[in-house]
Symmetry: C2
Subunit: 324 residues, 2 copies
């Protein structure tokens, strides 16, 4: 199978973390193509990862629209081009999300019927299921009809990935009644009711995590803030627990006895283990990873991209989107 193209220059922590993540993925049997400045990412050892040279990089703060025109030779663009040219099955970047999305949409195009691709991820629910959440930041000011498209995309994704016959679609809101929400949510609610989907209405965050729906639709600004709040809270609660444990000797022994449970909790709540979100709606497998990703998260994002490509996700979502 073709390798996953990894933008080795992207992310807050620089190429080292990307290379470490790529090597970890390779050890797990996933071929990876490193994309970036070869003077910085070429590895000396034999059996190292193949490198695709890209002379430029897009910085985190750069304008996405400008970067596409101004830096046609960037590592972000080259990773996407590698899919188009048949050199890679998927692309992953922890770098500038806007630039990555712009390049993906420009080079790969969109699936028929999709105006706005949406950043999509899976979040573990308390009932053991998984929740599809979209959009997580691709569209900060969508129109109601875009939220309706996200609902159709999320429905198709959940049917393919979660193998559900009829995923329950919820609309993120600040209350369950149809009168709740902001203007956008109220208008989207009216559109979603008319779609041939299992629309369960407005859903508040706690109910969504407890299993009230399989797909949670939201605008990208709110979705991004929500996901970052969830990550931050899980970290804060974990951090308080660690400090409390270290402060007391009897607690330390208790923590030693609890170490198995604590490590399982960390695994179930660490978002690094999910490792990346799909840019759903573009005609190719494009995975956006967190700027703060460590090597584990990079390896997770590569594995996620590889799985999506292997399972022919894009073609199956395209089919699922077509009216019956």
């Amino acid at each position: 199978m073709l390798p996953v193209a990894l933008d080795a220059m992207g992310g807050d922590r620089g190429p080292e973390v990307n290379i470490a993540g790529a090597l970890r993925a390779q050890r797990a049997g996933i071929p990876v193509l490193l994309v970036g400045d070869e003077t910085k990412i070429r590895q000396p050892r034999k059996g190292a990862l193949p490198v695709l040279h890209a002379r430029e990089s897009v910085e985190m703060g750069e304008s996405a629209a400008k970067s596409v025109r101004a830096k046609p030779g960037s590592s972000i663009r080259a990773a996407i081009d590698a899919i188009k040219n048949g050199q890679a099955c998927a692309a992953v970047s922890c770098g500038n999300t806007g630039a990555f999305m712009a390049a993906a949409t420009l080079v790969l195009g969109r699936i028929e019927g999709v105006d706005r691709p949406a950043i999509t991820t899976l979040v573990p629910r308390t009932d053991g299921g998984r929740l599809v959440v979209l959009d997580l930041g691709a569209n900060t000011d969508p129109k109601p009809e875009h939220l309706a498209q996200f609902a159709r995309l999320g429905d198709a994704f959940a049917r393919v990935v979660l193998e559900l016959d009829r995923p329950r679609i919820g609309l993120l809101s600040n209350g369950e009644e149809p009168s709740k929400g902001n203007d956008l949510v109220r208008a989207a609610h009216a559109l979603l009711k008319e779609l041939p989907l299992e629309f369960v209405g407005n859903v508040e965050p706690p109910h969504a995590f407890h299993g009230a729906c399989d797909v949670l639709v939201c605008d990208g600004f709110v979705g991004n803030v929500m996901l970052k709040s969830i990550e931050a809270t899980a970290e804060v609660v974990g951090g308080i627990l660690r400090r409390e444990i270290l402060a007391h000797p009897s607690s330390r022994f208790g923590a030693w006895l609890l170490r198995g449970a604590l490590s399982r909790v960390r695994k179930r709540t660490a978002y690094s283990s999910i490792g990346g979100a799909l840019l759903l709606g573009v005609d190719g497998v494009v995975v956006v990873a967190h700027g703060r990703s460590d090597a584990t998260a990079v390896a997770g994002a590569i594995a996620h991209a590889h799985r999506c490509a292997r399972d022919d996700l894009v073609a199956r979502v395209r089919t699922a989107l077509r009216p019956a």
Copy 2:
């Protein structure tokens, strides 16, 4: 000192929880006036709480605007009237937030210079400080100039309650650069830069909780979703930990040794201990409590309201809002 008027009919769990919370507050030395249907809330015992009869109640799903006109005799309205009539120093309700806010604004009026009161709360930060967050749901579609007012209100609140000389004001966004955010946030950013406040720019949720600012300004829809996501995540992480611990005998002994630490974590992360959010900007102390409140949360909200009234918060915020 005057009692705190409690809407005894409000909330998902009915009058029992409100009465239990009020009795708990009374035992802590805070006088409480129960407001509601006296056939349902009159307590048989001597030394029970005083009751102010209100024949109607506003249901959770009712339209706020309609309820103000249609139910002038509701417990929500009577609790607010009790402030106006000099029978109470503050009002608390776990009931219909929209109806409570509408009654408060109508009866008590707004502080000079405030167009839109904002639901305001304090969230513990990881650096030991506390973060003022507003708005949490009073305004789901504010204009940029309303966010600028929230910044001024939050600044005044932080100077009075947190005793800071120059609180650092952050604007909730999906990225730090001024170009990040949705249309509303970008427009508000431009306004906030021009105010005589210590504006630190856009702040993402994790940085806000780690101490990047003292006041976090956001629109009510996003703020409400953020707060509910934080609450839900803290509950989920705690729930996973409990299940993991109960699943293994050696973990159970470890948990017993850890019980002190675990209970302190629960206390620091349980939002019931904060117990309510202030409707900042109305001319009176009005505390909005969670619909799901238990007796502890109700008692916490009453204590919070009592503290705000005792400290003459509204008058001090009014003074702090005036140009120097």
